[in-house]
């Protein structure tokens, strides 16, 4: 059964660094498992806590947010904001009863294709260990507030 488990990962990548990093991993043909669906955002600071939970609610087994290294954010301090917000996310994940390791925040620059592949592989392996999202099985997708 465990071998059958194909984790679904949502990766939020900032347009200027990490998304380019993912691109570089691609063009340099660094191998990493194909489980991640990348969502490009203009800055890691754009990722609201709600986005992360929405991904989990929709069935993601893990969520990773990536951005430029601190000091390199193209909007000056977006990634610092992201860092603050993601602390909140990690805490909420904990009290709500999801494992904290299902969520990760990483800084990956445009030149770090190798790092991108490494981080993804490690994260996906971690999620494989944790197994499927514990939220699932019982109830259909929520009808919560949408904008």
């Amino acid at each position: 059964m465990d071998n059958m488990f194909k984790p679904r990962i949502i990766a939020f990548c900032c347009n200027w660094c990490s998304y380019a990093g993912a691109d570089l991993a691609g063009v340099s043909r660094f191998q990493y498992p194909p489980n991640a669906r990348i969502i490009r955002v203009m800055c890691s600071g754009r990722v609201e806590p709600r986005f992360v939970f929405r991904a989990f609610e929709k069935g993601a087994d893990g969520v990773i947010v990536t951005g430029c290294h601190i000091g390199d954010c193209h909007y000056i301090s977006g990634n610092k904001k992201a860092e603050e917000r993601m602390k909140l996310v990690r805490y909420l994940i904990g009290i709500l009863g999801l494992e904290e390791d299902r969520f990760r925040l990483e800084w990956i620059s445009a030149s770090e294709g190798q790092k991108f592949a490494h981080v993804m592989t490690a994260f996906i392996n971690k999620i494989k260990e944790l197994g499927p999202n514990p939220m699932f099985g019982k109830i259909e997708e929520g009808t919560e507030c949408q904008q």
């Binding site: 806590p49 939970f53 909140l88 909420l92 009290i95 999801l98 514990p134 939220m135 929520g142 919560e144």
Partner: protein, 390 residues
């Protein structure tokens, strides 16, 4: 005469509307930029323009404050009407604009997954005692989540739960505090998501049944209103008693089981809508305040039935008008000469503190007032006799 009206109108007896316009003139949101008008809504519903109403973003501006219900000569419950209309609006795809882009409603939604095991009890202080089994349970509500989500405002809402527990302990009561309670569903209900509300309600009631409790103590006015009034309405009668903590503590004080004393200060009290106009509970909190030695209590000009709303409801109505309402209310509190404005609702606390925090530097001196929850304050007053008793 009433034949042919849809059930929505029949239930509210909205056909009794005499178009006096009292509702629209008292409505605080009517003064705001949207100029919302309950009378217009009632009229539109009566004349069969329901579609127009449920497709309007306006629908989400009403604060459910109940001021209009209070003044209506025909006793029409406008807030009930709004709840039903929002339910229809949600089905028709009219979306609300949520504070924190909906994180708070979402957290409630996540608690609907019975397979998730929450870890919501880290806040329990070591010096408090709780039981695993028993007749009495204390329902904490979403307090453990608020402090995290509103870290920037730092409302310390969890102190309400700590304070309540300390007071109960002081009177020798050790209630159950459960790791498995869920969001009461108040915000889901009032933002129109009745399906989600009922789901949460059933999960909670099942859990209470498993525990076999006879009394449920609730400190949050909204949770209290929801469980005591709307659970029976939507999912059937409850086989336990729901008690508001301030009423309970008020009794404990009268029995002489709790005594409280604090440094001298002047305070005033803000009635939360859900406790006041919705449930007519005005005296128990005032009674508790009166029994804290050294507090001098001054009533604000607008109080009880006419007390204004804190400006936000169910995390969907925050806008400039809300901010104005908060500032006006805070100024009113300051004008009484009080140094603290007491409230009993964690959400009122958050919204008022949010407004205070946003004030520009130069206004900081004139806006010198502290907003505090009654349980938090009362439990601080409790400390002295507790120490003596040890």
């Amino acid at each position: 005469m009433t034949d042919g009206y849809p059930p929505l109108i029949l239930e509210n007896k909205a056909y009794y509307c005499v178009e006096c316009g009292k509702c629209s003139s008292i409505c605080p949101m009517n003064r705001g930029e949207h100029g919302i008008s309950p009378r217009r809504i009632v009229k539109k519903i009566l004349e069969n323009y329901e579609i127009e109403v449920i497709e309007d973003q306006w629908l989400y501006s009403c604060l459910i404050c109940g001021l209009c219900d209070e003044v209506c000569p025909s006793m029409i419950s406008f807030s009930t009407l709004i709840r039903e209309l929002r339910h229809r609006a949600l089905q028709s795809g009219n979306r609300k604009l949520c504070s924190k882009s909906g994180l708070l409603l979402q957290v409630g939604g996540i608690m609907m997954r019975p397979s998730l095991k929450q870890n919501r009890l880290d806040w329990l202080p070591k010096d408090t005692k709780i039981s695993e089994k028993g007749d009495i349970m204390y329902f904490v509500g979403c307090l453990p989540f608020f402090d995290v989500i509103f870290k920037d405002i730092d409302p310390k809402t969890i102190d309400i739960a700590k304070g309540t527990l300390r007071m109960l302990n002081a009177a020798g009561i050790e209630p159950i505090v459960s790791n498995n309670e869920r969001c009461c569903g108040h915000d889901q209900l009032w933002s129109g998501d009745i399906v989600e509300f009922e789901f949460l309600a059933k999960l909670n009631v099942e859990h209470f049944k498993e525990l076999g409790i006879k009394k449920l103590l609730v400190s949050c006015p909204e949770c209290y209103e929801t469980i005591s009034k709307y659970y029976p309405k939507y999912i059937g009668d409850l086989d336990f008693e729901v008690i508001y903590t301030m009423e309970y503590i008020s009794e404990l004080i009268d029995e002489g089981k709790i005594t409280m004393k604090i440094d001298e200060m002047k305070v005033t009290y803000h009635d939360p809508c859900s406790l006041g106009r919705h449930l007519n509970i005005y005296e128990p909190p005032r009674n508790v305040i009166a029994n804290i030695e050294n507090l001098s209590f001054i009533e604000m000009p607008q109080n009880k039935e006419s007390g204004p709303c804190c400006g936000v409801s169910a995390w969907i109505t925050c806008d400039r008008t809300s901010k104005e309402m908060q500032i006006n209310r805070l100024k009113e509190a300051i004008s009484t000469g009080a140094s603290k404005m007491i409230t009993t609702c964690p959400k009122c606390l958050i919204h008022f503190l949010c407004s205070l925090k946003q004030r520009p530097e130069e206004e900081k001196d004139t806006m010198g007032i502290d907003v505090i929850d009654l349980s938090t304050l009362a439990s601080k007053a409790l400390e002295i006799p507790q120490r003596e008793g040890q």
